[in-house]
Structure formats: structure tokens, C-alpha cells
């Protein structure tokens, strides 16, 4: 066995260019399998995280926000935005039969001087009624959020003095949330009193965010939970009938529109993986067949000096396994490095929630990708080895073919 491996390594070294080409090809195969699978899985994780973070059955926003896609921009891409409506609708929605819980939210975009050298989304919630934000804030911060306290999303670095100032309102960072893979990672969370103070201060300074809405009565969205057994679609219609200036959207519809985008990308990635593998395997088969034909005299000579059929097959398979293992390891290592480091860039460019899987899943995928590459190469080379060892070696040497 040791002799077979040593001979295989010498053969690989002796044919440096051919071996490098095969390493590159198997690296490409394992990279496509590993990269494609991890990307699709990360998009699925992002979708699940997005669904979990919405935390309500219905979201009511001003019509203008729906028309311009502002809510989705905030929730998925983390693009700062704001839109306001009067809070008088709160009571009217609460009266609708089937409404279980209701809570307002407030969206405010920071001025660039406030923090972070760029605009930041500030999201305010009412701690007494909130059922959407607080459950997952509690995963990182168990106490209640006091006035002037803020919690930052994963994408925002906490300054050393843990201090931010928005619209002349001083805030203290009390916690940083875990990564969700959604736009909510780029937001700062405050309670209703803190954000109301910021909104009033912004209005006083002269920011024209509120247009004709009274800043004291302004809310950005109303989250609604529906009682069990009631039809969400019916309640959405009832809310939409209350005012032509607002729009109620079922969160299921919001999730399904993201899921549609995800399914398109998943299909495309799947097709690319299949195409790469078909092409790659075909090239491997041709390469191994050509390699064996080229070495037919060498193998026949080995057979004639006492090498068994099993030994010849062993040499060819060992060469294929060493080359494919090296290629697989290089391919997955490079792809892993690129995917892990460029995950946020990828998320921004495709505009979909993306949350990388944990190290356990990635490790399993690394092993699987390398194993599949090794298996394909081993099978291909063993077929070629069977073909050559079944021929009469004496005839090959005599005829030279």
C-alpha cells in the first residue's frame, strides 16, 4: 500500500502540469458545490430570521410607504427611512373584531452627524404594548429599556464611551443585538419616550420629516396580531377600509414576496451547480481516459514485471484520490474564505436577507464537498483502470498501443 501511494505521488509530481490542471478542475467542482449550497442555505436562514423578526400578523403603514417600498427597504436592506401617520387609527383598529394585540412603532432616520458617519435607522416601540421587538431584544438584554437607553443592531459598532447623540438627545448604548441577516441589524432601538423626544427635537431644529402630521401624534406603523380562528385577510380588508391614506399588509404576503425572490435565486444556483458538475465530470472522464491511454505502455510494463491488476488499479485510483482531495480542499477553502468574508457584500447586492449558517453546518459541507469530489474522481479513474487492466498487456507492449 505504501509503495502504491509513493508511486502515485511520484507520478503526480512527474506530470506537474497535468496534475495542476486536474487539481484546478476538482477545485472548481468542490467550490461550486460548497459555495452554491452554503449560499442557498444562508438565504433560507435569512428568510426564516426575517419572518421571525416581523413578529406580527399585519403591518399598517401610510400608503406612501407601501407605494415607495420604504418599509421593505428598512426591514430587508437596512436603508434608513421614515414615514408618519396620525395615531388616531390605533383606537379604530383596536375596535375591529378579531384584533388580539396592537402596538405602534416609530421610524426615524438619524442626521449624519449623530453617529457612525452615515445615516442610521432609529426604531422606537411602546414597551407597554410591544409584542414584536421586545421578545428578541430580551435574547440580548433582559432588563427593560429605560428612557435615553438604546440597543444597537449587529451592524453598528458600540463606541467606547457607549454614547450617541441624536437630534440633541443623549443616548446610552445598553446592549448590541445578535445578527439577524436582515436590515434590522443596521437599526438602533429606543423606547417610545426616547424616540418621541428625538422626533420633537428634530421638528424643533427644522427637519421637515413630518410634513402635515402633528409630531406629537405621529406614528410610523401599527403592528397588529390577529386572534386565533380569525381570517387575517378579512381584517386587512377592514383596516384598509378605515382610511385611504393607510395600507395594511399581511406579513405572510411580505414574507412570500421575499421567498419568491429567494426561490428564483435558489433555482439559478441549483442549475449552475448541476451544469458545472455535468461539465466537470465529463472533462474528468475524458482527462482520465486520455491519461490512461497515454500511459498504457507504462502500465503494461508494470504488469509484465509482476504488478498485479489490483496494484495497477490502486496506483491510478490513488493518483485520482490525492489530486481530487487536494483540489477539493483548495476549492472549499478558497470559497469558504470568500463567502464568509463577503457575506455582507453579497447580501447588499442581492437585496435579500442573508444569514450565514453556523460553523457546524459549514464544516459538514466542507467535508461533503471534498468527499463528493474525491468519490467522482475515484469512480472515474477506477472505470478507466478496469478498462486498461482487462486488456492483454503482452499485446499492448508488442503493438505499442
Amino acid at each position: 500500500m505504501k509503495f502504491i501511494i509513493e508511486l502515485a505521488i511520484k507520478n503526480i509530481k512527474g506530470r506537474g502540469r497535468r496534475s495542476s490542471a486536474l487539481v484546478l478542475l476538482t477545485a472548481l467542482l468542490s467550490a461550486s458545490l460548497f459555495g452554491g449550497t452554503v449560499t442557498v442555505r444562508s438565504l433560507q436562514n435569512g428568510l426564516r430570521s426575517y419572518e421571525a423578526r416581523l413578529g406580527a400578523d399585519i403591518i399598517v403603514t401610510p400608503w406612501e410607504a407601501v407605494k415607495e417600498g420604504k418599509l421593505e427597504s428598512i426591514l430587508i436592506q437596512g436603508a434608513p427611512g421614515y414615514f408618519y401617520m396620525e395615531d388616531s387609527l390605533l383606537e379604530e383598529i383596536r375596535q375591529i373584531e378579531g384584533v388580539d394585540a396592537i402596538s405602534p412603532q416609530f421610524y426615524l432616520s438619524s442626521a449624519s452627524s449623530g453617529c457612525c458617519d452615515t445615516l442610521v435607522q432609529i426604531i422606537g416601540f411602546d414597551p407597554d404594548t410591544d409584542f414584536s421587538v421586545q421578545p428578541w431584544i430580551r435574547e440580548s438584554y433582559s432588563q427593560s429599556l429605560g428612557d435615553g437607553d438604546v440597543i444597537v443592531g449587529w451592524n453598528i459598532r458600540v463606541p467606547e464611551n457607549r454614547h450617541f447623540r441624536f437630534y440633541n438627545v443623549d443616548c446610552t448604548v445598553v446592549a448590541r443585538l445578535d445578527k439577524t441577516g436582515t436590515g434590522l441589524d443596521s437599526a438602533i432601538y429606543a423606547n417610545m419616550n426616547t424616540i418621541k423626544q428625538m422626533m420633537e427635537s428634530a421638528d424643533d431644529i427644522g427637519f421637515t420629516y413630518f410634513k402635515d402630521v402633528d409630531v406629537k401624534k405621529a406614528v410610523s406603523s401599527i403592528l397588529v396580531n390577529v386572534k386565533e380562528g380569525y381570517d387575517t385577510g378579512k381584517i386587512v380588508s377592514e383596516i384598509n377600509r378605515l382610511s385611504k391614506d393607510v395600507s395594511a399588509t399581511s406579513t405572510k404576503d411580505m414574507v412570500s414576496s421575499v421567498a419568491d425572490g429567494l426561490s428564483g435565486i435558489s433555482k439559478l444556483v441549483g442549475i449552475l451547480i448541476v451544469f458545472t458538475w455535468i461539465l466537470g465530470t465529463a472533462i474528468l472522464v475524458v482527462s482520465f481516459a486520455m491519461m490512461v491511454n497515454e500511459r498504457v505502455s507504462e502500465l503494461a510494463a508494470l504488469r509484465n514485471i509482476g504488478g498485479s491488476k489490483a496494484m495497477l488499479s490502486g496506483i491510478l485510483i490513488a493518483e485520482a484520490v490525492i489530486v481530487s482531495f487536494t483540489g477539493g480542499a483548495v476549492g472549499t477553502a478558497l470559497t469558504g474564505l470568500v463567502i464568509i468574508t463577503f457575506a455582507d457584500t453579497l447580501k447588499n447586492s442581492i437585496g435579500l436577507p442573508l444569514l450565514l449558517s453556523g460553523s457546524g453546518y459549514i464544516t459538514i459541507m466542507v467535508i461533503c464537498s471534498i468527499l463528493v469530489s474525491v468519490a467522482v474522481c475515484a469512480v472515474t479513474s477506477s472505470v478507466c483502470a478496469f478498462r486498461i487492466t482487462s486488456k492483454d498487456t503482452g499485446l499492448i507492449l508488442r503493438e505499442g498501443k
Partner: protein, 147 residues
């Protein structure tokens, strides 16, 4: 005296190509956030400028590495390349801070791009170091046997 024909090794080519690619991409794709409205630069600018200096050093060392004779010299230069590559991998965000939002260009382009290229250069130089040490060891054993 017979002039030796220059034949670059695989690691020479890899080091030159990757470090040149690193320098070019650092100045085109992996650039940091632009100036603020008031014309001043954000903190990430200083990290980027330091990276450009390190990239220039890496390109210079890689070219010198390909042309100098002798395994001893090449080993020394490879150790230098490895050290500079590790320094450039850890520099942004650890030694010189980047901007405060993870969504900004310095976090989404400069930091990951720099990490990928620094690791590639570090791996290539580590392979070169291993090859040079092996060659020097074989040479030393042969000399010992001759004595």
C-alpha cells in the same frame, strides 16, 4: 562564468500575480468610503492608506524574491512577505479602526477583500518558506555527507 537563465518558480509567479492583483484591486474595488459632506475623511481612510503602503511593499518584495539568487536570500524575503501579509490581514479594524457601521464600504469591500488577498499571499509565502527550508536542509545534508 556561465550566466544562469532566469526561470521563475510557481510560487514566484503566484506571489507576483496575487500581490499585484491585491494592489490594483485595493485602488479600484476595495477602496474605502468617500469623503464626508464637509470634505473630511472617515477613520477608515487611514486604514486603507496603510494597506496601500503594505501592498506596495508586498509587490516590491515579491518581484525582488523572483530575481535574487540563492535559497537563503529567497527564504529571508519569503519570511518578510509572510510577516507583511499577516500584518495587512489584521490591520483594518484591529489595529486601525474602520467606520462604525458594518454596512459601509470599508466593511463590505476593503476588509473582506484585504483579508482574502492577505491570506492568499501569506499561504503562498508559507509554501515558499517550506520549499526553501527543505531545499536548504537537503543541501546541508549533502554537504555533511561530502565532509
Amino acid at each position: 562564468m556561465k550566466n544562469k537563465k532566469f526561470v521563475p518558480g510557481i510560487t514566484d509567479i503566484v506571489l507576483i500575480v496575487v500581490s499585484l492583483g491585491y494592489l490594483v484591486l485595493l485602488n479600484t474595488v476595495f477602496i474605502t468610503c468617500g469623503p464626508k459632506d464637509d470634505g473630511s475623511f472617515m477613520v477608515c481612510q487611514w486604514a486603507w492608506r496603510s494597506l496601500v503602503v503594505l501592498a506596495v511593499i508586498l509587490v516590491t518584495l515579491s518581484i525582488v524574491h523572483a530575481f535574487v539568487p540563492g535559497n537563503e536570500l529567497r527564504l529571508g524575503i519569503s519570511i518578510g512577505i509572510f510577516t507583511v501579509a499577516i500584518a495587512s490581514a489584521v490591520l483594518p479594524d484591529n489595529i486601525i479602526p474602520l467606520c462604525m457601521m458594518n454596512t459601509m464600504k470599508c466593511h463590505t469591500h476593503t476588509k473582506p477583500g484585504n483579508l482574502v488577498f492577505s491570506v492568499l499571499i501569506a499561504v503562498a509565502s508559507a509554501v515558499d518558506i517550506a520549499v526553501r527550508i527543505r531545499k536548504l536542509t537537503v543541501k546541508a545534508v549533502k554537504q555533511q555527507e561530502e565532509i
